[in-house]
Symmetry: C2
Subunit: 374 residues, 2 copies
Amino acid sequence: MRPRFTVGASDGAARAGTLVTAHGVVETPAFMPVGTYGTVKAMTPEELEHLGAQIILGNTFHLMLRPGAAIVAAHGGLHRFMHWEHPLLTDSGGFQVYSLKSLRRIGEEGVLFRSPVDGREVRLTPEDSMEVQLALRSDIAMALDDCTAHPATEGEARESMERSMRWAARSHARYCREDPPGGLFGIVQGGMHRPLRLASLETLLRLDWAGLAIGGLAVGESEEERLGVLEALVPHMPAGQPRYLMGVGRPEDIVAAVVRGVDLFDCVMPTRHARNGHLFTSSGVLNIRNSAHQDDLTPIDAACDCYTCRNYTRAYLRHLDRCNEILGSRLNTIHNLHFYIGLMRSLRAAIAVGELAAWAKGFLAARRQPTRGF
Amino acid sequence: MRPRFTVGASDGAARAGTLVTAHGVVETPAFMPVGTYGTVKAMTPEELEHLGAQIILGNTFHLMLRPGAAIVAAHGGLHRFMHWEHPLLTDSGGFQVYSLKSLRRIGEEGVLFRSPVDGREVRLTPEDSMEVQLALRSDIAMALDDCTAHPATEGEARESMERSMRWAARSHARYCREDPPGGLFGIVQGGMHRPLRLASLETLLRLDWAGLAIGGLAVGESEEERLGVLEALVPHMPAGQPRYLMGVGRPEDIVAAVVRGVDLFDCVMPTRHARNGHLFTSSGVLNIRNSAHQDDLTPIDAACDCYTCRNYTRAYLRHLDRCNEILGSRLNTIHNLHFYIGLMRSLRAAIAVGELAAWAKGFLAARRQPTRGF
């Protein structure tokens, strides 16, 4: 079924809403943990559920290379393959292909690239991406886009954006050809050039999408550039559709984007940082590898009630990290995802009571107070 | 408190019993998952508990190097450090020092070795081992032994065994000096030389131990040699004390030793095999890396009711293994530990009803039937 979005409350430009899918309801603003290869790294689906994750993201690019769409389809789709019963969004592969840089060749038809797994040449057209995503049976699929390089001249950004728009139309045609399992989101491109962003949005709005995403950010631009694009673009996006800012980001970036009216986020940061020993707390990021934690009998964050903070000391977590123990990655990931998911819950609550501005101010102020051991 | 052992049922030489410790009861025969660095690799304590593990093993050698006994002691011991509330056995470090081979120097006082972590010279005497184990506050501590090389001449084995016996007496004196948190096990040595094994046992029995272990096996000897030692030794071991066969082993080895009267086992095999994709089933070991599993929609073992087999296909597990995903190590470890712990439960049940011989025969016969995909 096509996801249905309803705004329940708003506070300035920010909204709290619900996105109803065939696999359940997502409360927005929402953060989607990234499950690249059909697993959110180090977590079971039950753990994600227990942490309050309502939707996760799967990577089309990775899954088409390993294990291949046919094997996932033989299981009945990505939900059953990975034993995740709740909503799933799949990206289109566009951003991953963009990240390959020299290993790809972009043409009007699509992209040819060398597989980083085994070196074979792989084709990814809008139709290919849709066919993989239809096989994965995600609740939300993404149009294939040509992610614009940064920095890009106005001419480069325009050429890339216009290609994305042609690919968006082809994605839409292919995805909607038969009765799809979910809904398709279009992706606004245009680099840091605001008129191009608005032109991209206008082009997309000629078609009927289940939601709209903002692509081509989190590519190395400054915070000012990113917020500039959001401020120019978001007010023109349809109020009744979910807005997804792809690949963003740090907790403070998410707060800033929610304040400006964004509803959905994904980022590898909480899970990747966890495996590298960087742990989120209300006062900033703590590095568990720091020798100050060697004999520290306190939890990561005394105010946190996650499984890790309730049961383990910093000294134990530092020890696990030093010994490269799997449990260290697990406990750190639980903590970081708990932080992100808790952040989204707080944002929703603040919007519901109309106190987002004050809440955001307090949140950002606390993160500027370093504490012992950071 | 000193553990108390009671035999509840016997069947031939085999016994089913209970070992009562300050942290709970262990039903024997029991398998102890190995938690080298204060974590059974890839598992949380709650998962171990859920799998039915009643006792786990911690490695003195590893923990004294990282994080060091003082940091564990500051937490109140290994139980609290690692958040495991049930019985814990610590080994003495003797076997790990033996495995260092050229990096160690053995003298009458103890062993000097180069730390494999940072190259510094470390001393391990019987007194050192006891002090570390007392700091870890394990329910069962092990005497420091000089593990005899294999093969060894009668003279070499005698010299090594006699040193172990002198170290056993020093271990006993140091461990019992103050009120210890648990009980101490002596370790029988003597290589493959049966008269030396009996002499070692006789020497140990001059002191009062909470249990006795059989060391110096699982060092590369043949199955015949190992069973020969067990058959010569076990009938002379006190019936009222638990008997622990250190480092053994494969499921069939455990069954053979239980039949001969052994009560306790530990081995890295289920956890290490899991991380290498080798999965135990009633009909043998399956290698999940085998390409035959690539599109196999069945579980590891259709007869298994572990979390992994209830929720995931071989195709998914093979995919996780290929992608080096942490979840693969987790799911495989759950399955293998479930197999080992289930094996011990079956052995206890068979002993209780006096049908061990028939059960063991059926178990061994099933493992000789390879199935598709192995």
